[in-house]
């Protein structure tokens, strides 16, 4: 059983224990799949491999955890119909990394428990309005600076905004600086900018 970690281009150093299998000219990084009951440790190990590939390749398309195949032939059969789209994605992320943005805050109303229907609805609307404002004044300027962006749909407070940006590797510092500058406009909220990551959010290829 083998595990697929990523598709790469221009890989300079292959991490220990991994090998390249070429599928119609596309380099897939695989390793032997070792069973692990600890999913968190397995996810961390997978992430470390992908991060080392990001540091050593011109372009990397990470594959989600758990893509195991019986052998290279089965892997090639599964990947072959998508090679063209995978190459396009690989080209789209070339030279870029992912930067993550996370905005958290207690937006609960100071009015306390709602006493009637109207006050309940107003209380529930407050975070949605804040989210819309954040999308306009924080996310939108960053999206304009990025090559691509992905923003997660709003779930519930306190996580007010979670977004990923595809940024040229050489521009990460400036991008993070702008994120922090923009965040200063929101003193009630906590904002973190993390990276550089492999472009997980921009690696999706439709089946």
């Amino acid at each position: 059983m083998i595990r697929l970690y990523a598709f790469v281009d221009g890989l300079r150093v292959l991490p220990d224990g991994l090998r390249i299998t070429r599928i119609q000219g596309l380099d897939a990084v695989v390793g032997d799949a070792r069973g692990s009951d600890d999913q968190v440790q397995a996810a961390l190990a997978h992430g470390r491999v992908v991060e080392s590939l990001r540091e050593q390749a011109d372009a990397v398309l990470p594959v989600r955890l758990g893509e195991n195949f019986v052998d290279e032939t089965v892997l090639a059969d599964a990947v072959a119909p998508r090679v063209h789209r995978l190459r396009e994605r690989l080209e789209a992320v070339r030279g870029c990394v992912e930067v993550g943005l996370r905005v958290v805050g207690d937006v609960s109303s100071s009015a306390g428990e709602p006493l009637d229907g109207v006050s309940y609805m107003r209380m529930r609307l407050e975070p949605l309005r804040l989210r819309n404002a954040l999308e306009k004044s924080l996310h939108a300027p960053l999206e304009r600076r990025a090559k691509a962006a992905h923003v997660a749909p709003f779930g519930s407070a306190p996580l007010m905004l979670e977004a990923s940006y595809l940024v040229p590797a050489g521009a990460v510092g400036d991008f993070a600086g702008e994120a922090v500058d923009l965040a200063a406009e929101w003193p009630r909220l906590s904002v973190t900018c993390t990276g550089p990551w492999a472009p997980y959010s921009f690696a999706e290829v439709e089946a």
Partner: protein, 118 residues
């Protein structure tokens, strides 16, 4: 440079970094959980499944109503009636969660590209 893998990835931050870290704690629970099917816990497992679905529908309806309220297409009476209904539903959900020993996180669903339910 720090050896902490989290701090080495921190490009910048404002506010309460610990609060952000706490909000990310759910990432370790991102793997799908299973409904307990053994005789002792089957009732709680089924309640968890049913309440999760009810919570999903409740949130969808409430979000739609809030959107319409924000667009200004609801009258004050409609807002009051809807708000009272959603408030009572939320209270009843809390009672049922307590009855079956469930926490908010037990009713969470990973909805793929739509994010998480709670």
């Amino acid at each position: 440079m720090s050896d902490d893998p989290v701090l080495t990835k921190l490009l910048g931050s404002t506010g309460d970094l610990d609060g952000v870290a706490r909000s990310a704690g759910g990432a370790v629970n991102a793997f799908p959980s299973r409904i307990g099917a053994d005789p002792e816990s089957v009732e709680r497992g089924l309640a968890q499944l049913v309440l999760t679905l009810v919570e999903l529908l409740r949130q969808l309806m409430e979000r739609q109503a809030l959107r319409r309220m924000d667009e200004g297409v609801l009258t004050d009476d409609e807002i009051e009636r809807m708000g009272e209904t959603f408030m009572k539903l939320a209270e009843r959900m809390d009672e049922l969660k307590t009855e079956f020993g469930l926490e908010d996180e037990d009713l969470n669903l990973q909805l793929g590209p739509l994010g998480s339910l709670l």
